[in-house]
């Protein structure tokens, strides 16, 4: 695969990911509205939001670190787009390499790191409260997230290649249909919810108490880029779980494509329902939840996987 081809693929997947991301965010807002017995926004809502934000004035605070302040949203968006490109290559071209699973764990941490950098460089007090919470949350959800990733990696014959995990699920049954698989899936759903900053774990942005938290000083196109990165993460996170646990999306025929898209939408709606039926946790409760119950469950599912594999 040549470098130019990869670059074109990257730009193309950036555009596709943005469009799917905006529609996914619309699904999120619409489902939320229906759960709350409202009508909800029209389908083009997030496109309108983004176009509006590009036209707005950009503030750079006086006591901010200017380079980091501008660079942080770009870092955020790069992390989510590169991980999305890798997933697209795995799904569409069956192209992968040994260890892309581990690479994705690192890349999926970049959006949160971008938010942390941006918030801490903006020089606002409320923003630094948000940064401290986001940092603790990042430490919190990474551990169960990795537990949830190890389960399919062991189950498909101790591999760290996404293509091999997909191949394993084509020949055997899907990983979600086993006991450690379903436990790992539940853990990963919560970890992804934490990554997305959705409601039980939205304490970094808590609009009621710290008025936007980490994003408080951002305006205009920079805010738009952060929103875009969040939207793309809303595609990448569930898609990652579809590949790990549900056998991916196959574009061989129309029915299998629809089947794959339904899997993605199912996970998305599951996350939205979790978001709408839970109150916001305090940071100590969130850490206790991630490092307590979820990690114990995660280690349990890893042990179960080993028992099933080598009994």
């Amino acid at each position: 695969m040549s470098i130019t081809y990869t670059f074109v693929y990257f730009i193309g997947s950036f555009i596709v990911l943005s469009i799917i991301g905006f529609i996914a965010s619309w699904i999120d807002r619409k489902v939320t509205a229906r759960i709350q017995w409202r009508v909800g926004p029209p389908w083009y809502q997030n496109f309108a939001d983004f176009i509006k934000l590009t036209a707005k004035e950009v503030f750079i605070p006086e006591n901010a670190n200017k380079f980091t302040f501008v660079f942080a949203p770009v870092l955020s968006i790069l992390g989510s787009v590169i991980s999305g490109t890798i997933l697209f290559l795995v799904l569409g071209k069956n192209f992968g390499f040994n260890g892309d699973l581990i690479l994705l764990v690192y890349l999926l941490a970049l959006p949160s790191l971008g938010i942390i950098l941006g918030g801490s460089s903006s020089g606002n007090v409320l923003s630094s409260v948000g940064v401290s919470r986001e940092l603790k949350l990042l430490l919190g959800y990474e551990l169960p997230f990795i537990c949830g990733i190890i389960v399919p990696a062991i189950k498909s014959g101790s591999t760290t290649s996404l293509v091999k995990i997909l191949e394993f699920q084509q020949t055997n049954k899907l990983i979600i249909f086993s006991l450690p698989g379903i436990i790992g899936f539940i853990i990963s759903i919560f970890a992804i919810t934490g990554k997305l900053g959705f409601v039980p774990f939205d304490l970094a942005e808590a609009e009621g108490e710290i008025s936007g938290g980490v994003l408080i000083e951002y305006s205009g196109i920079l805010l738009g880029l952060f929103k875009l990165a969040k939207s793309i993460l809303l595609v990448v996170g569930p898609l990652f779980l579809v590949i790990l646990y549900m056998g991916g999306i196959s574009f061989a025929s129309i029915s299998s494509t629809i089947n794959g898209i339904l899997k993605y939408v199912l996970i998305l709606v599951l996350i939205v329902i979790i978001k709408n039926t839970n109150p916001r946790l305090r940071i100590d409760q969130a850490i206790r939840f991630f490092w307590g119950w979820l990690t114990i469950l995660g280690i349990l599912s890893i042990i179960l996987t080993f028992v099933q594999m080598y009994k």
């Binding site: 509205a33 409202r38 809502q45 309108a48 036209a55 004035e57 936007g212």
Partner: protein, 139 residues
């Protein structure tokens, strides 16, 4: 009409600024707009927490001598273009506070106001109608 104005009309992010002395009734009526009965998210309006994100400043209550600096500050901090809406009799004209010793002028003496929505308090329907009329005139 350019696409940016069109996008602005479809996605107004609202920041709620309680300008100073008020009886809080207008604020409660603003929150009513978010309930399922009125649901302003149909029109793309969301309540945001920071004036940097806002397109609309919803101001309630009179401006008093304590809050006048803060109101000016919040207006400066709002990313332009932004719309200022004066909600309730107090913000429009001073209401029952107009002869009070703390009065520092109704809102339009302090910052430029685009839309006036009178009433004590105005109904949520009246607020929606005011904003929709303004959007019709926006070019």
């Amino acid at each position: 009409m350019s696409i940016k104005i069109k996008a602005l009309k479809k996605s107004l992010w609202v920041y709620h600024l309680a300008a100073g002395a008020s009886c809080n009734n207008c604020d409660i009526e603003i929150l009513d707009c978010l309930t399922p009965r009125y649901d302003i998210e149909r029109f793309g309006m969301v309540l945001v927490g920071s004036p940097r994100h806002a397109d609309v400043l919803l101001c309630t209550g009179i401006v008093n001598k304590k809050s006048i600096e803060r109101v000016k500050h919040v207006y400066q901090q709002t990313a332009k273009p932004c719309v200022v809406v004066a909600i309730g009799s107090c913000a429009c004209s001073g209401g029952i506070f107009r002869t009070g010793y703390e009065m520092a002028g109704p809102l339009d003496k302090v910052i430029p106001v685009d839309v006036y929505i009178p009433g004590c308090p105005p109904k949520p329907e009246a607020m929606l109608a005011g904003i929709v009329k303004f959007l019709g005139k926006l070019k």
